[in-house]
Every structure is written in structure tokens, then in C-alpha cells.
């Protein structure tokens, strides 16, 4: 076949092949003999009757074989066949569109990954903080706990000048004093006859009846009482003496039993284990964040910076200066009666 005799490839493949065969002077029988086709298959192929032929994979094979035998390019004929049979089902070849799978390089996936990571980190921090508190009861206390004695509880009314009625602002440790009114009291030195407590402190207090004595001087106390009702009654009575800070601590001790109040002026590592081997605290005590611990005495106490911590036990200051070591640590046992002994 010469180049000038190129058949019209725009026609149906069977027609093109039949025309080419005839132009080369070949009979159907000769083609069948050469390509091992049956007469029926060849007749249907040339008639473009694909429905009567095997599936498209075979028909394309027939076209390819036939075209190659006639020495014409089979690809345009295959393309024509594919166009004509575009909607014909191909049983074994995938035609379905597979939804793309999530790729980690997608911006959305990256944002989601970062978001999940941030949530995990926040959850971890939240858990750690919550765990670190341990058995410590949340409480807000003055920066320096008053060095009060039991006698403070029965202090004469003459001491009232140190504790103006509206300065004793109490709040339930569980934060239940919702009916109270919050007031911020400016910092000022607190002087007590029994214990000289003089430290400025930011105070957030709750007053049931702040208006009861507006003229009273502000007192630098940030105190929390266990019993809001009890505390609220005191300032409500303008003529009654306001309870001292030591009273507050004692009241707290009465309610809770064996209560240790730890306060640091310097960050220190603290370990407190009670008689039941309950680890009441095991971690850092930061300056300005008092801790109230409850447990069964005697307590095994280890302080990293002994001279930077003051301890009140049931309202009484604990003197553990004899257990202070040269490296500033302190290890001692605090008995139920408030006495200390060396930690074995």
C-alpha cells in the first residue's frame, strides 16, 4: 500500500478495513486463513456489528491484528472504535472515579493536625496542673499568714482597732459566697498584739455588708473563712468586734481538724506525708501561693528552703528553726501537739 492510498480513517473501523481489504484485492477467506478468524467474526467486524462480537477488549484486538496485516496504522481505528463504544461497559477495566484520599500535605489536613496537637498539649497541661494540686484545698490566703495563737480567738474588744469591721472580709473556700459583694481593699500594714504581721498584700475580700462601716480603714488582708455565714455575721454587726486573722485560721482549723498552712516567701520544694502515708504535698511551693493541707498527724515534712517557709498547724506557728540545716533544708516530724522532732 502506498502513502497516497491512505484510507478514510474517519469512517467506522470495520468499513475502513473492508475497503482496504478490497483495495488490496484480498478476499475474506484469505484474511480468515491468515489471521485464524472465523468467517462470522470477520463479517460482523467489517459490518461494525460489535454487539454480536465478543467484549471490546477482543474487538480491539481483532482490529489491531487486521489493520497490521493490511499494513495500516491501527491506532486511529481503535480510537474511532472507542468513540463509538464510549458507553459500552468494560467489565474488567476500572472506570469508576475513586475519591481522593486524605493527604497529609493538604493545607486543611495540616491545620487539623496542628489543631489536634494544640488541643492535646492543652489537655496535658490542664491535667498536669490539676494533678499537681493533689489534695491541696484551693484557698486564697494572705501572703503572710498571721502568727496567731489560740488566745487570739478570745482577744479583747480593744484590739478591734487593728481589725476594722469591714476589713474582715471572708469568702467561702469553695467560693459559695455568691450573695456577697466583692471589694478590693488597698494594701496596708496589719498590726496585731499577738503577732506582728506587717506585709502589704493585695486583698480580694468579700463583704456582706460593706456599707456597715465605710469609714473604717482598709486592712491588707486576703482572707478566706471556711464558714461564710459565720464570717458574714461578724461584719454585719457594726458594733461587734471583727474577728482577727488568727481567729480565721483557728476557725478553719476547727472545721477541718488537723490543718497545716504553708506559706513561702521564697519558692521551695516541699514534701508533706501524714501518718497514713498520704502524700499531702510533693512539689514546689511558690511564693505568695499559700497551701492548706489536711491530714492525720504526725507529719513527715521536708522543706527545700526551710527558712523561706512558715508553717501554721491548727492556727499555731510551728517553730522548726532547730531543724534547719546549713544548706537551708529542713527535715522534721510535726507531732499532733505541734512539737517537732528529727525525721528519722
Amino acid at each position: 500500500m502506498t502513502e497516497s492510498e491512505t484510507p478514510d480513517l474517519s469512517a467506522a473501523p470495520g468499513a475502513v478495513l473492508a475497503a482496504e481489504r478490497e483495495s488490496q484485492g484480498l478476499s475474506r477467506q484469505e484474511i480468515c486463513d491468515q489471521l485464524n478468524f472465523t468467517e462470522t467474526v470477520l463479517a460482523k467486524l467489517e459490518a461494525d456489528d460489535y454487539a454480536a462480537l465478543p467484549p471490546p477488549a477482543f474487538v480491539k484486538g481483532y482490529i489491531r491484528s487486521y489493520a497490521r496485516y493490511l499494513e495500516i496504522d491501527p491506532e486511529p481505528l481503535i480510537a474511532r472504535f472507542n468513540e463509538a463504544n464510549a458507553d459500552a461497559p468494560e467489565p474488567a477495566v476500572s472506570t469508576g472515579v475513586v475519591p481522593p484520599e486524605a493527604r497529609s500535605s493538604d493545607p486543611l489536613m495540616r491545620i487539623a493536625t496542628v489543631a489536634v496537637a494544640v488541643v492535646l498539649v492543652l489537655a496535658l497541661v490542664y491535667w498536669w496542673l490539676g494533678n499537681n494540686r493533689g489534695s491541696v484545698v484551693d484557698s486564697v490566703l494572705p501572703e503572710e499568714t498571721p502568727q496567731s495563737t489560740p488566745s487570739d480567738a478570745g482577744a479583747p474588744a480593744g484590739d478591734d482597732s487593728d481589725f476594722p469591721p469591714d476589713s474582715e472580709l471572708f469568702r467561702d473556700s469553695a467560693g459559695t459566697a455568691t450573695e456577697t459583694e466583692q471589694a478590693t481593699v488597698s494594701a496596708a500594714p496589719l498590726q496585731s498584739a499577738e503577732a506582728a504581721v506587717a506585709a502589704p498584700a493585695a486583698v480580694v475580700a468579700t463583704s456582706v455588708n460593706q456599707a456597715a462601716d465605710q469609714s473604717a480603714p482598709a486592712t491588707p488582708v486576703q482572707a478566706v473563712a471556711q464558714d461564710t455565714a459565720e464570717a458574714a455575721d461578724a461584719p454585719a454587726d457594726a458594733g461587734a468586734p471583727a474577728p482577727k486573722l488568727s481567729d480565721v485560721a483557728a476557725a478553719a482549723a476547727d472545721v477541718a481538724g488537723n490543718v497545716l498552712l504553708l506559706q513561702a516567701t521564697e519558692a521551695s520544694w516541699v514534701s508533706v506525708i501524714d501518718a497514713q502515708q498520704q502524700r499531702l504535698m510533693y512539689g514546689m511551693l511558690t511564693s505568695g501561693t499559700p497551701r492548706k493541707l489536711e491530714g492525720v498527724p504526725p507529719f513527715d515534712i521536708i522543706l527545700g528552703v526551710g527558712d523561706g517557709i512558715s508553717i501554721n498547724y491548727n492556727g499555731e506557728a510551728v517553730d522548726f528553726s532547730s531543724h534547719l540545716r546549713s544548706n537551708r533544708t529542713a527535715r522534721f516530724v510535726l507531732a499532733a501537739d505541734g512539737s517537732t522532732s528529727k525525721l528519722p
Binding site: 485464524n36 477488549a57 484486538g61 489491531r64 491484528s65 467489565p91 474488567a92 477495566v93 476500572s94
Partner: protein
């Protein structure tokens, strides 16, 4: 395991034709994304107690075959359709899988379907499976190559009619008769493109007294190789080392000589086809006689291969569309069918 599943979310299912000559990878929804020679170049470091490391993979490594210095060795880790070097195959697969999962945050852990010769032994299949798992696959399916080839060629294997496929690969040739999504008869002969190359090398040494390499033999096969006497005589100038003189010499080889060289491996394939036809149940044999034998694999591209089978069997022989990728495409389609119809639908290992 959990981590693998997590990584699986960021991986795509793959169908791999781990061939002796070429490795092809089909990715669901994307088609054939990798077609590289199954070759690896290994560098031996003299300064580090002779430790070995991979120098190149695929095409780059194939270019080095027969042209390497002493400390680099270019090898083909697959022989006769099965693993010849387990560790290198694993590394090569790992490299290819990573390559098709470009720009990924996680190391990919895809589901992988690997096509294996139907004549592979249990040990050889296990080696392929473990190699794929070692390369990071979270789940490995093995499917017989003729089944994948037939599905990839578009044959109606699910019909109750016989379909015969002949897949001529680099290391093996597989012939099978399929019906109702199953293999009725299959046979595998360890004859393929590699044996053709060897036959050409031997012929040239014997008849021209010259030594040529695998790459040259492959080039001769591609350019003037044929399986059946053609109308025209093709010639090619080849350079090889003259065995008596010991120096490179040039000589001319023609297509009839190559045909003569290929006689032995070609008739090995023809014998396998004839035996398959003998063993095929008569009803299915009649279907094959009516519809024809489908040729797939790289060997189908050897000039007049269909003509040879046609003359020898008296049946129509058809060359599949894009025969080189039939097995891989068929594997991809089988992966989709597993999802659509369930794992038990196809005979998988």
C-alpha cells in the same frame, strides 16, 4: 499496628508488578505512576569496614549495569519473576513506595497488591510478601499474574466463558485459562525477555566470536528482534569485544539471525501454550478458539510474536492494549473489586 493504621489513612492503595525487568506501580485513582527498571546499584565503602549502601535505584541504576567500577555493583534483585536478593528487593520496594507517596508527612503504609508468577513456590511468595511488609505495607495481597493480566487487558473473566491469556514478562511467561473470576488452568515457564537477551548474547558469541553485554543484547532485541520471519530484512550495527583479538570490533546483525537466536526460548513459550490448550476443558477451549488468545507483557511487543502463536496454534491471537502495563492495571482493578465485592471475590493469597 495502630500506628500503621494511622499511617494508612495517609497512604494510597498500590498495585505493584514486581517484575524481573521492570517494576510498575499503579495508584488507585491516579493510574500508573511508576515504571522503572528493577535494578539497584550498591556502593561498597572501603573506608567503613566494607559497609554497603544503595547508590541508585531504577533507571539510574540500570544505566550503570555493566559499566560500574569495582566498588559499585549494579544488580537486578529479581530473577525469573521471584526474589533473588531479599534485602535489596525490600530496599528497592521501600524506595519506590516512598517515591509514589511524595510530599507526605507520615511514612506511607499502604495496602499493597503484588502480582506474582503463578508458578512461584510458597517460599517465593512468602519472600515477596515479607519484602513488601518490610517496605512499609500494612496489608499485602498476592495475586497470580495471569489473573491480573486478564483483568488489566479487559477480558471478561467474570463470565462463564473461557478466556486465555499469555503474559510474557521479563523473567517468566504465564499462560492461563480463566472463567468465573478463577483460574481453570495456569502454567508458568521461566522464559521471558531475559532469556531472549541471553540467547542473543550466546548467538553472537558463537557465530560472531564477539562478546556483547546485556544492554546491547536488549537493544538488538528491541530494534530488530522478531518472532516470525518478516517481509523485510532489518539490520543493525553492533559493537562487541572480539574474543580472539580481545579488542572491540563492529559487526552487523540482521533480523533473521536474531530470529534464529530466539528459536529456543520462543518455542519454549509455544510449547507452554500448546500444553495449556491440551489441558483446557473442551467447552472453555471452544471459547478460546472462538475469541482468541490475549497477549500481554513486554514480550508481546516483540515483532510478530502474535503471528508466531497464531501460526503454531491456529487460533486468533490478539495483542492487548498497552500490554506492558496490563498486569499492574489489572492489579489496581482487583484492589477496587476487593473493596466493592469483598476480599473473597478473587483468589488472593
Amino acid at each position: 499496628m495502630l500506628l500503621k493504621r494511622l499511617r494508612g489513612l495517609f497512604s494510597t492503595d498500590l498495585s505493584i508488578d514486581l517484575g524481573t525487568a521492570n517494576t510498575l506501580i499503579y495508584v488507585r485513582g491516579r493510574g500508573i505512576v511508576l515504571n522503572e527498571p528493577s535494578a539497584v546499584a550498591i556502593r561498597t565503602d572501603p573506608g567503613h569496614n566494607g559497609s554497603r549502601r544503595i547508590e541508585a535505584y531504577g533507571l539510574e541504576a540500570k544505566r550503570m549495569v555493566g559499566r560500574t567500577p569495582q566498588h559499585i555493583q549494579a544488580v537486578r534483585p529479581m530473577r525469573d519473576g521471584v526474589i533473588a536478593d531479599f534485602n535489596i528487593t525490600e530496599k528497592m520496594l521501600q524506595h519506590f513506595i516512598k517515591k509514589v507517596h511524595d510530599a507526605r508527612f507520615f511514612r506511607p503504609s499502604p495496602r499493597v497488591l503484588v502480582c506474582v508468577p503463578c508458578g512461584a513456590t510458597q517460599v517465593e511468595r512468602r519472600a515477596i510478601r515479607e519484602s513488601a511488609i518490610g517496605a512499609g505495607a500494612r496489608q499485602v495481597y498476592l495475586v497470580d499474574e495471569p489473573m491480573a493480566a486478564a483483568v488489566g487487558a479487559g477480558m471478561p473473566v467474570d463470565e462463564p466463558r473461557g478466556s486465555m491469556v499469555l503474559d510474557i514478562g521479563g523473567g517468566t511467561s504465564e499462560v492461563a485459562v480463566l472463567s468465573l473470576d478463577g483460574i481453570v488452568y495456569s502454567a508458568s515457564v521461566r522464559i521471558g525477555g531475559d532469556r531472549f537477551d541471553e540467547a542473543i548474547i550466546n548467538y553472537v558469541r558463537r557465530n560472531f566470536g564477539a562478546l556483547i553485554g546485556e544492554a546491547t543484547a536488549e537493544r538488538i532485541k528491541h530494534e530488530i528482534g522478531s518472532a516470525y520471519p518478516g517481509k523485510e530484512l532489518l539490520e543493525m550495527e553492533v559493537k562487541g569485544r572480539n574474543l580472539s583479538e580481545g579488542v572491540p570490533r563492529s559487526f552487523t546483525v540482521n533480523s533473521n539471525e536474531v530470529l534464529e537466536a530466539l528459536q529456543e526460548p520462543l518455542y519454549g513459550i509455544v510449547a507452554a501454550v500448546k500444553k495449556a490448550l491440551e489441558q483446557t476443558p473442551p467447552e472453555l477451549g471452544a471459547d478460546v478458539a472462538e475469541r482468541g488468545i490475549m497477549l500481554t507483557g513486554g514480550g508481546a511487543l516483540l515483532r510478530d510474536m502474535d503471528r508466531l502463536i497464531m501460526e503454531e496454534t491456529g487460533l486468533p491471537v490478539l495483542i492487548a492494549e498497552d500490554p506492558l502495563t496490563c498486569v499492574t492495571r489489572g492489579g489496581g482493578r482487583i484492589l477496587e473489586l476487593i473493596d466493592e465485592r469483598g476480599r473473597d471475590h478473587f483468589p488472593l493469597d
